[in-house]
């Protein structure tokens, strides 16, 4: 390869950082050499060995694989006023997320290959984070007939889910698990019994009673997880429980796994950090489905994350326009944005002593990649150079005014965060540089 070709291909050395390998669960001082968009070497003291490369100084920083968020609502097509694939992936890379899976509840619903291809084309045009579409379980999310799994799989979906519209028909869920299994895809379960949750707007408990708001009992989640665990056992399919929120559901996942049933689970940062008390004052940015639950539930979620019952942290990034939140609590839209706060809220678990750093990183890189069978979330020679440089001591205050996502519905407004994605690379290309506060190739020449 000639020198000119090497320049075009781009050689970058990420030098002087602490490299975290989430698969081996190790951390060590090393430099990372990127060549032609792939990781060419991970070794200590590479700086003296390679010449003529652009150098990104990573001293004092953690170097990790780009984060993987397996639960994102990008809203395009159909709800571009909330978020677009461009603004969503912009927010993603600003938060260190280089790969994400996006939910099917767009308009039109991603229940056919044409919509899948549209999403992928838009993602390619945005050229920021990698986007992996999730197809619908059922046509129109109506819960009646299966969507086109074969066609969508060929077009690029990595899982199926009727997220937001729980599948109430047990027989349909059974068939979904059977069919998704043919394509080695998980069925992602928004586990909420709609008859028990009907009309509810927050967790059923003393806070809901005090505020006069209708509650959703934890049992709404428990009965659905129980049902779907049984169906996963019946079919041999892969059940993935999205945004698990109740202590009861966590225990059922634990037992199912002990019994050898293929069940995985994710938890959202807001369920790890907030409880139903956050609704106080009719705070619509604390309204989500499933709802924020009790302190005991939160404790169970953390314990399950630590013992591995919960595999991954996924944001359930759910942008909504201000007008959909600045209304009566009963009428407010469900969900909060999360892409830009995933990293610091995960690092906070390390500060709390719940997880060690490599495990925490694994929960937002290699683990979700394993669940969705993605070629992402690893830091190894030969893989695409999707890398995030993290300053673990960087303090910043969450402000909806400075978030990159198009919508501003964060549940963490005003929180002081520690840790931030300083530089994000996808295919070896700098797609976010916090040091310059914008996406620029701010690399120093060596």
């Amino acid at each position: 390869m000639s020198n000119g070709e090497e320049m075009r291909a781009g050689q970058v050395l990420v030098a002087g950082g602490t490299v975290v390998d989430p698969v081996k669960r190790t951390q060590r001082r090393a430099d990372v050499l990127v060549r032609a968009g792939k990781i060419a070497a991970i070794e200590p003291q590479l700086r003296s060995k390679v010449k003529g490369v652009a150098v990104i100084d990573a001293s004092g920083q953690v170097v990790a694989p780009g984060l993987v968020d397996m639960h994102v609502h990008l809203r395009e097509p159909g709800f571009e006023y909330k978020e677009t694939i461009a603004t969503g992936t912009r927010a993603a890379v600003a938060g260190g997320v280089t790969a994400l899976a996006c939910m099917a509840n767009t308009r039109p619903v991603n229940d056919c290959p044409a919509v899948t291809r549209y999403i992928l084309e838009r993602a390619e045009a945005a050229a920021l984070a990698r986007v992996y579409p999730i197809g619908a379980v059922s046509v129109q999310l109506a819960g009646e007939q299966l969507a086109e799994y074969a066609g969508m799989h060929e077009a690029g979906i990595v899982a199926v889910s009727d997220d937001g519209m729980p599948v109430m028909d047990a027989e349909l869920m059974r068939r979904a698990l059977e069919c998704a299994r043919m394509f080695d895809m998980p069925v992602i379960d928004h586990a909420e019994d709609r008859t028990l949750a009907a009309g509810g707007v927050m967790h059923e408990g003393a806070v809901a009673l005090r505020l006069g708001l209708r509650g959703i009992p934890s049992a709404a989640e428990d009965v659905m997880v129980a049902r779907d665990v049984a169906l996963a056992g019946l079919t041999g399919g892969h059940l993935h429980v999205a945004h698990i929120s109740s202590a009861g559901a966590v225990e059922m996942v634990r037992q199912a796994r002990a019994a050898g049933i293929h069940v995985t689970a994710e938890v959202s940062p807001h369920h790890l950090w907030l409880t139903h008390e956050a609704v106080e004052g009719y705070n619509t940015n604390a309204k989500m489905a499933p709802p924020l639950r009790s302190v005991e539930d939160r404790q169970a979620l953390r314990a399950a994350l630590a013992d591995g019952t919960i595999d991954t942290i996924a944001t359930d990034h759910a942008p909504h326009h201000r007008d959909e939140k600045d209304v009566e609590f009963d009428h407010a839209a469900n969900g909060v944005v999360g892409l830009e706060t995933l990293l610091p809220l995960t690092l906070r678990l390390v500060e709390d002593g719940l997880l060690d750093l490599p495990t925490a990183i694994a929960k937002i890189t290699s683990e979700p990649a394993r669940i969705l069978r993605l070629p992402a979330g690893r830091l190894e020679v030969g893989v695409p150079a999707d890398i995030v440089l993290i300053d673990p001591t960087y303090e910043w205050v969450v402000s909806s005014a400075t978030l990159r996502t198009k919508s501003k519905n964060t549940a963490f407004e005003g929180w002081t965060m520690r840790g931030r994605a300083m530089v994000t690379l996808v295919d070896g290309r700098v797609v976010h540089d916090e040091r310059a506060s914008g996406p620029a190739a701010a690399t120093a020449s060596a």
């Binding site: 059923e204 006069g212 209304v327 009963d330």
Partner: protein, 329 residues
């Protein structure tokens, strides 16, 4: 009078101190007399505008607020959900901003969604009075209940109050729970498990399913209105079934203390939650409640609107603090 109520709005009784509640009750007591006069009007709120913004049907509460405002010489405007732009799809926030632009001095709001008055309070400058928000609170109703209880019993602390009915959906039940507990009363919630969920115990209520058990030695019985449309076979199989277990009969009243008083926020379903014999009987103080309602609403308007003006006037009178300082010496 000392400044005992510094709040801008009356959104609920939760969080109010016993001193604040007592102050509102004392103020209401002093307004009772106005309604006894031949000319039932005082100039306290002359030139002030009170908007009644009602997103739910209400005759009694709205009329009570309107008469209260008029007896204080305020101008009143009634907006009901059908007449306002709510049916045209305007958001509550926009309605609030539009009203605010007309510079009302207070907005009395009733809304089917809990927290709607709180949302309004974030978007307008003037005092907001909650006249009932979903299943959350109905503070002036509870204040009038407290006033009624206090005037019959002398004090509230130490009393046992049994509240019977659909507590799950009742804003009257909640406001009374908060107010009564703050004032030192014991509160029993009495009703079927579907309408008296266990988490109410965490809010300080004692929960009893059996009516006769729940009324034992009660000083006060408060019957809640059963919403016929809610008895759809989900919470209870039928109105008849409900009535069989929870209708307040003479027999049931006998379980309570001899000097028990019986309240009902109205409108009553005679023969469903309360028998006519009891409703019209000697223990019933239901008509006192209506009279006290007027006094409580006058007091609320006075405290939030009228007295505020006095404070503002005083504040703009730059010499006032000097005079006060001199007087203190």
């Amino acid at each position: 009078m000392a400044m005992l109520f510094e709040r801008r709005h009356l959104l609920g009784l939760e969080g109010l101190s016993a001193e604040e509640i007592t102050f509102l009750l004392d103020t209401a007591e002093s307004f009772k007399e106005v309604s006894e006069r031949e000319i039932k009007k005082v100039p306290t709120l002359r030139g002030r505008t009170v908007v009644n913004l009602f997103y739910e049907a209400s005759t009694r509460t709205r009329t009570s607020f309107e008469i209260a405002a008029k007896r204080l010489s305020a101008d009143t405007v009634n907006l009901s959900a059908n007449a306002s732009s709510a049916s045209k799809g305007e958001t509550l926030t926009d309605t609030a901003r539009n009203l605010a632009a007309m510079r009302p001095d207070a907005i009395v709001v009733r809304h089917p969604s809990a927290g709607a008055p709180h949302l309004l309070a974030r978007h307008v400058d003037c005092p907001i009075i909650n006249a009932g928000d979903g299943a959350h609170e109905h503070p002036t109703q509870a204040l009038l209940d407290l006033l009624t209880i206090r005037s019959h019993k002398g004090q509230i602390a130490g009393l046992t109050v049994a509240i019977v009915g659909d507590l799950l959906h009742s804003r009257v039940g909640r406001s009374n729970l908060f107010g009564l507990r703050t004032m030192g009363a014991r509160v029993r919630f009495v009703g079927p498990p579907t309408l008296v969920p266990p988490h109410f115990a965490e809010l300080g209520a004692e929960l009893v399913n059996d009516l006769h058990e729940g009324l034992r030695d009660a000083d006060v019985i408060m019957m809640l209105r059963i919403q016929r449309e809610r008895m759809n076979g989900r919470y209870f199989s039928s109105l008849d079934e409900y009535s069989r277990l929870y209708c307040l009969s003479v027999d049931a009243v006998a379980r309570a203390r001899k000097d028990v008083i019986i309240l009902h926020p109205g409108p009553m379903n005679r023969g469903v939650e309360i028998s006519s014999t009891v409703a019209d009987g000697p223990y019933s103080v239901i008509m006192d409640q209506v009279t006290n309602g007027l006094a409580v609403r006058m007091a609320t308007l006075y405290v939030l609107v009228g007295r505020r003006r006095e404070v503002e006037v005083e504040e703009t009178d730059t010499a006032a603090p000097l005079r006060r300082a001199a007087a203190a010496e």
